[in-house]
Structures are given as structure tokens and as C-alpha cells.
Symmetry: C2
Subunit: 434 residues, 2 copies
């Protein structure tokens, strides 16, 4: 492995504000609609489910910068800034003239970027006097992050975990429990939605859609309890922009600017987190040539093969209708190991930007993603999460193209998390069982 | 959780030399002996098994400081300095007047301190023209670190993994395989030692002793192959002193000096790594009141209940005879989850210092260790490795004593690794199955 170059920010340079790209978008995304009245959602509608502040941020199309609360920044300081790393080893292995950088979000105490928003959402709930929060989780990265954050701010947390993951990923479940969360396999008998699904399909293995239905039902029926979401929505993406804002300063330290920014894509918050702070310069007329590439799994290709439509966020149809590229809210993707990318729709901001041609999308097969993951582990020393391996695979494609075309380029991708808790998936890949 | 204070060194302050405590010890440890001739081991004897440089370092009783090779330091830079953290959250939970600091070695890419020596040992083997290395691993932390290091320096690695761990800890096995190592369950049929053990006891579940026998046999019979060890020996402890040397500078940044230094104890390299740089001041007449506490498991109490003797390092009796506190080389500890602490003997330096009364030892029950581990996860946000949880439990005892006696003190402990790959053990604890 080659020696690596890491760029770390001074503590005073850790961002104090998140970046709200909607304020800069010449054409705003269409509004989310109430599923019954089909009227644009108001803050009042949203705050039935979410904290007041999350609801306010969700609808904010005006303020470019949103202050990061000091209590959240205090927690960020434990693991931020995350390193920006020049991937010399990967470059050498690919024999590419491209310069490859990655932003290493895997160093957070939960092992992924999800904590950036979990801390913010839990903090707002606590500030507003709530005692309980709830959410769903698929692969378990979001649930783990929220368990950590709920513990930080002294909130009770109930996590509805997709049943398939509950059984396949016991390490994630135990992590949440160590941090004090209650973890329920979804669909469960504890909600109306769960009972309905189990009555219709007794062996239902669960999906993000079923788990969201259960968590939203809990939040709307239990006093003092609100719901939180780990991706898709504008305010979640907003919190993740801390990634790209740091990366921007770190790329300056490295004396380069990315020609291509790459992120894996589930609901869009990790992708938006790394991309939008760079895209703001494009929207302002600078760096017009920068490309933004979303890497989604072949098994759940909403960006490359979905339709733009108003669709529900969950399977039962409890959530608002969102204007998004979607495979349909009842779409059930194959049980790939990158559980965090198995979501049927793309967030409204990303959907709008895709429609305008500001974002490119590529779909990556599961084997290609693991091949890239193992290559990365052997050249850069970090075993990536199966989700993040999609961003690496897209990076590998770009780097090989740079070699074939003989045109150097600077690539930046987000390593959203490590795969230490996903080794069973790597084992399947290494033994050819995939 | 309380906000934490982290101390990180500037890159230029990452140590350039390791500290060899033997040079400062007024009474040197007795020599290791050849098992056949009972004569003190020479460098030539040792280099039959180990790299020349490791053998040289092992017998060096003269040089206080040993240069860290630049290529190793290049690799250290990827994760060092590791943070020194003031554990406000733990202090508050224990309502103690003690100040608690921990040195967080879990941030290394393999999740533990083991990498500090793995990189050094692999580097020396490569420098000396070897192509293959071998080792044994119990819990898997050492094997994982060596797999990473062998990949860094382009060496082939065969790891003999204790069969019980091979089956119980598939995530560790997969991690080693992702980094390209060959992993063999020990006892195996691939060595004479393994065949003998399996002939006598067909269902033998393996132990560090059996795995060492197999690895040493491979190293002595295959040309171009040498053996490496993850703890116990002087040169391994030497490499780990980078921990304490950093911590010393970081405690200065914090404006405090530890009254008590605590490390978990398997073979002694993590304990020595955090302790000896501080102990050097005691040996020099300063800070005479500083205490050094080794935390070992109740199930393998070589320090608190072992005898000082010349004993073999392995089960088959292939290794030199070491002057150490030991439970006997055929002792088989219960199958506790802290596999890294299941070793029958203590390194010669630690044994000598224990005999002189410079080290205290405490033994910690398994439940107490996990109780401390969960408390730490909930107050400081990091799930500790089961081994490290022993150091935390000893810290908790000290902090409670400080409260009960009304005497403040400054405690420093080494968080040798995280427990993300050990969640099955936490699950057993949380469900009462322990």
C-alpha cells in the first residue's frame, strides 16, 4: 500500500452552518402534498410527525445557511473533521492518471455518516420537550446512529428494523441495544400497519416501506413521541452537507478542485451531503464543468430506470406524497447486501436536479460493488460498507475511463461508512456465494 | 453524554523512536533459555524464528531509544496520533472526583492497537527479503492487524486461528481474508504439531498454545518464512510504547499527570505500551507515586494467581523457555469472550516488574467487564472490545474508590480496541446468557 496523504481541519474550521441548496436552486422542487387533500404540506402538517425545527427546515426554501446548534457541534467535535484522503494506493492499482480523493465518514463512532443528522434530529426533539423518538432502519446504519444520538441527548428510542435485517444483521441490532434502544422486527404485531401486513402475508420479511409505516404510526399515536428519518428528506440532506463543506476546505488544502463528485445513492442524503456544497459553485456560475455522479444498485435503479411521479414514502401510504423519481412505493428490491440503498424513491431535491440534468446516475451490480470494495480494502486499508462500495465502483469506472481516454481528472467520493459489521456479506462474496 | 475533550498531536509530534524500558531497569529480566540446552538464547537462536531485527530488539538491554523506520511511521500517520480523551461522561455517571482519561487506540483501521507492532514486524520481514510470514491469533485482533500489515508491505501471510474463534468469530476471519491472508483453523492437519494434537484429541477446540506451535513449525520448515507474535515478547512491547509516548505528550497538553495508569493484560504488550513510557519517569526518580495497574480476567489470572517460573510460550513446547508469571503452558482457560486475554503467561518484562512490586494486578470477572463496557458505550459513545472492557472495569473500581475515599486522582487507561466485531458477546451479556 502506498503512503497516504490526509487532510484534517483545525477545530475552528469545522463548519458552523449547514448549506441549504434549495435557496440557490433557480427552479425550486415541487412541494410535497398531503395524501388526502393533495394540498402542499404545511409546517403544521409536517410537525405532526417530525420535530418543529425539522419541519421548519424541511420547508425552508429561502435561507442558504442554517446554523448548527452548539450542542450538536460539540458532538461533531468528537469525530469531525473527518479526514480527506488522497487514495494513492487505489490510483496506483488502477494505473490511472486520475487523482482520487475520498472523504472518510467511516471514522464516526457509529461507523457511518448517518450520525451527522441523527445528532441534529435528536437534539431538536429534546429541545422541544419530547421524551421518545422512533424510526425505521434497514441495513441498520441509521438505527445505530440514532441509538447513539438518543443516548447522547437522553431520549427513549424505538427502532423498527426490517425483519430480514433483524435476522441477518444481529451485530447491528446488538449495537443499538448497547446504546439503550428498543429494537422491534418489522412488520410487528405492535402497530395496526404491522398487523395488517402480517395478516395478509404472515411470513413478510419486511422492507423499509413497512418499517416506516410502523414508526410513523407510533409517532402519531403516542404523546411526546416524534418520528425521525435517516435520508430522503430535505432537512436530512441539509445536515449531511457538513460533509461537503468540510471537503471543500480540505480540497483547497490539497490544492485541487474535483472534476467529478461521487456518492452512493439510497434516499440521497449522503450523495447530497458530499455534492451540494460543491454544486453551489456551479449554480453560482463557477466550476461549471464539475460533474456529480450518483451510484445506485442495479437491484434498485430509481434514478436510471424510475419514473418521475408523486409517490408515497412508505408501503402503507401513510406519508405525504413526494415529487420524486421512483420505482413505485410497493416496489420490493432484491435482498442485496447494501440494505441502505434498497429504497424505492429519490429525495425531492435530487429528483429535481436529476430532471434538470445536473446529476448523472450510474447503476452498479452487486458483484462489481464487492470487487471494488475488496480492491479498496487492499489498497487503502479500509473495508467499506456495501453501500459505500457502490461509490467506489463508480470511482473505479471513472478512473479507468481517465486512463483509457488519457485525460487526467480529479475525483472525489464519499466513503459513507465502514463494513466491519457487514463482514458476512464479504464472506459471501469471497466464497463465490453471490 | 457530556461533551468530550480530545487531545491530538501535531503530525510532527508523532514519536520518532520507541522506548526500550529494559535499558532503564536497574535489575534486568532473566534471559530466555533454549529449551534443549537451557542456555540463554542468542540472537542467532531467535532469528531462526523471527526477523533479524526483531531478534536484535528482543535482546537489546542497552539502547533506551529505538528508531521507528520511516516506512512504518508513514503508515502510523494514517491513524496516529490516536486521540487522548477526557471521559467526562464516565466521570459524571460514576459521580467521582477522579479525572479519567483514555487513550483511544480503537481508531486504527483494524480497530485495535495491534497494528502498531504488526506494521513494524511486517516491515522488517520485507526488508530482510522474506516473502512469507505466519502467526497465530485467538480473538482475531492480532491476525487482523498482521493481515493488514502483510498486505501493506506485500507479504504472503498464513494465520493459524484458534478453532473455537474461527467458528465463533467469522467476521474476524473474513476481515483477514479481505486483506488477502490465508486463515487456517488450529489445530489443523497441515503441521506435525496439529496432527499430533488432533490424533490425541480429535475434537480439540484449539488454544493460543496450539496455534503458536503450528505457526512456529511452519516458520522453521518453510524457506523465506518467518514467525511473528502479537504480544508477550520484548520487541512487541517496544513497538507498543508509541501509545504511552504519545499519551505522555497529550497528558501534558491536558495539564495533568496520571496517578494511575491502567491497561488490560493478555501477554503484556498493550499494558506495557501505555505504561512503560510513564514508568520511565518513576525509574528515573520522578513521579514516584504513579501506580500501574494490569487488569486481567478472573478466568486467566496469571498475575494474581500464577507462579514465577521458566515456562514455554506454547502448548507443544516448541518455544524458548521464558522467565514469567505463568499458570503453566498446558493451562486451558475457560472460553471467555475476551479471547485476547486467554494466555497462560505474562511477558518477561512485566513479570520482572511485577516481582519488584512496580506493577499491581487486579482480576476482573466477565460480567463485571461487560457491565463496564456497556456503561462506557453509553457514557463515552464507543463500544469497547471485551479485552479493553477489563481496563474500563479496573478504572471504574478506581474511580469509585476515589469517591468513597474522597481523594481525587487522575486515571489514564488504554482503550486498546473497539468491539464492533464482538457484538455477539454483548448480545450474550444483554440477554443474560453469561
Amino acid at each position: 500500500m502506498e503512503p497516504r496523504k490526509r487532510f484534517i481541519l483545525e477545530e475552528r474550521d469545522i463548519p458552523r452552518r449547514w448549506y441549504n441548496i434549495v435557496a440557490d436552486m433557480p427552479q425550486k422542487p415541487r412541494p410535497a402534498l398531503d395524501p388526502v387533500t393533495r394540498q402542499p404540506l404545511t409546517q403544521k402538517d409536517l410537525s405532526r410527525i417530525f420535530s418543529e425545527e425539522a419541519a421548519r427546515q424541511e420547508l425552508n426554501t429561502v435561507d442558504r445557511w442554517i446554523e448548527i446548534p452548539e450542542a450538536v457541534r460539540d458532538q461533531y467535535r468528537l469525530y469531525r473533521s473527518t479526514p480527506l484522503v488522497r487514495a494513492y494506493g487505489l490510483e496506483k492499482a488502477l494505473d490511472t492518471p486520475a487523482h482520487i480523493y475520498f472523504k472518510n465518514e467511516s471514522v464516526s463512532p457509529v461507523g457511518s455518516h448517518k450520525l451527522n443528522s441523527a445528532l441534529a434530529q435528536a437534539y431538536y426533539c429534546k429541545q422541544e420537550g419530547l421524551t421518545n423518538i422512533t424510526t425505521e432502519t434497514g441495513a441498520g446504519q441509521w438505527g445505530t446512529a440514532l441509538a447513539y444520538a438518543a443516548n447522547v441527548f437522553g431520549l427513549e428510542l424505538a427502532v423498527y428494523m426490517v425483519k430480514l435485517s433483524y435476522e441477518q444483521k444481529p451485530y447491528r441490532r446488538s449495537l443499538m441495544q448497547v446504546w439503550g434502544a428498543q429494537v422491534v422486527a418489522s412488520p410487528s404485531m405492535s402497530t395496526k400497519a404491522g398487523r395488517r401486513i402480517l395478516t395478509e402475508t404472515p411470513n413478510h420479511q419486511g422492507s423499509l416501506g413497512t418499517a416506516i409505516s410502523e414508526a410513523v404510526e407510533l409517532a402519531t399515536t403516542v404523546p411526546g413521541c416524534k418520528y425521525t428519518l435517516g435520508s430522503v428528506l430535505n432537512h436530512v440532506t441539509l445536515h449531511q452537507t457538513v460533509i461537503g463543506l468540510e471537503a471543500e476546505k480540505q480540497m483547497e488544502m490539497a490544492g485541487e478542485w474535483p472534476d467529478v463528485v461521487i456518492g452512493c445513492f439510497g434516499g440521497g442524503s449522503n450523495f447530497g451531503g458530499i455534492s451540494y456544497p460543491f454544486m453551489r459553485h456551479c449554480l453560482g456560475g463557477e466550476h461549471a464543468g464539475t460533474r456529480f455522479v450518483a451510484a445506485e444498485p442495479e437491484a434498485c435503479p430509481k434514478l436510471t430506470k424510475g419514473q418521475f411521479m408523486y409517490d408515497y414514502g412508505d408501503e402503507a401510504g401513510y406519508t405525504p406524497l413526494l415529487p420524486m423519481y421512483s420505482l413505485g412505493h410497493t416496489f420490493t428490491p432484491a435482498g442485496i447486501h447494501a440494505g441502505g440503498l434498497r429504497y424505492h424513491g429519490a429525495g425531492t431535491i435530487a429528483s429535481c436536479l436529476l430532471g434538470e440534468g445536473r446529476i448523472e446516475a450510474v447503476d452498479i451490480g452487486q458483484k462489481e460493488s464487492f470487487r471494488a470494495g475488496v480492491l479498496f480494502a487492499r489498497t487503502e486499508g479500509i473495508v467499506p460498507a456495501p453501500e459505500s462500495a457502490h461509490a467506489i465502483a463508480a470511482t473505479v469506472r471513472e478512473a479507468i475511463r481517465a486512463r483509457e481516454e488519457g485525460t487526467p481528472r480529479t475525483i472525489l467520493f464519499c466513503l459513507s461508512g465502514h463494513g466491519m459489521v457487514d463482514m458476512a456479506a464479504y464472506d459471501r462474496y469471497l466464497t463465490g456465494d453471490m
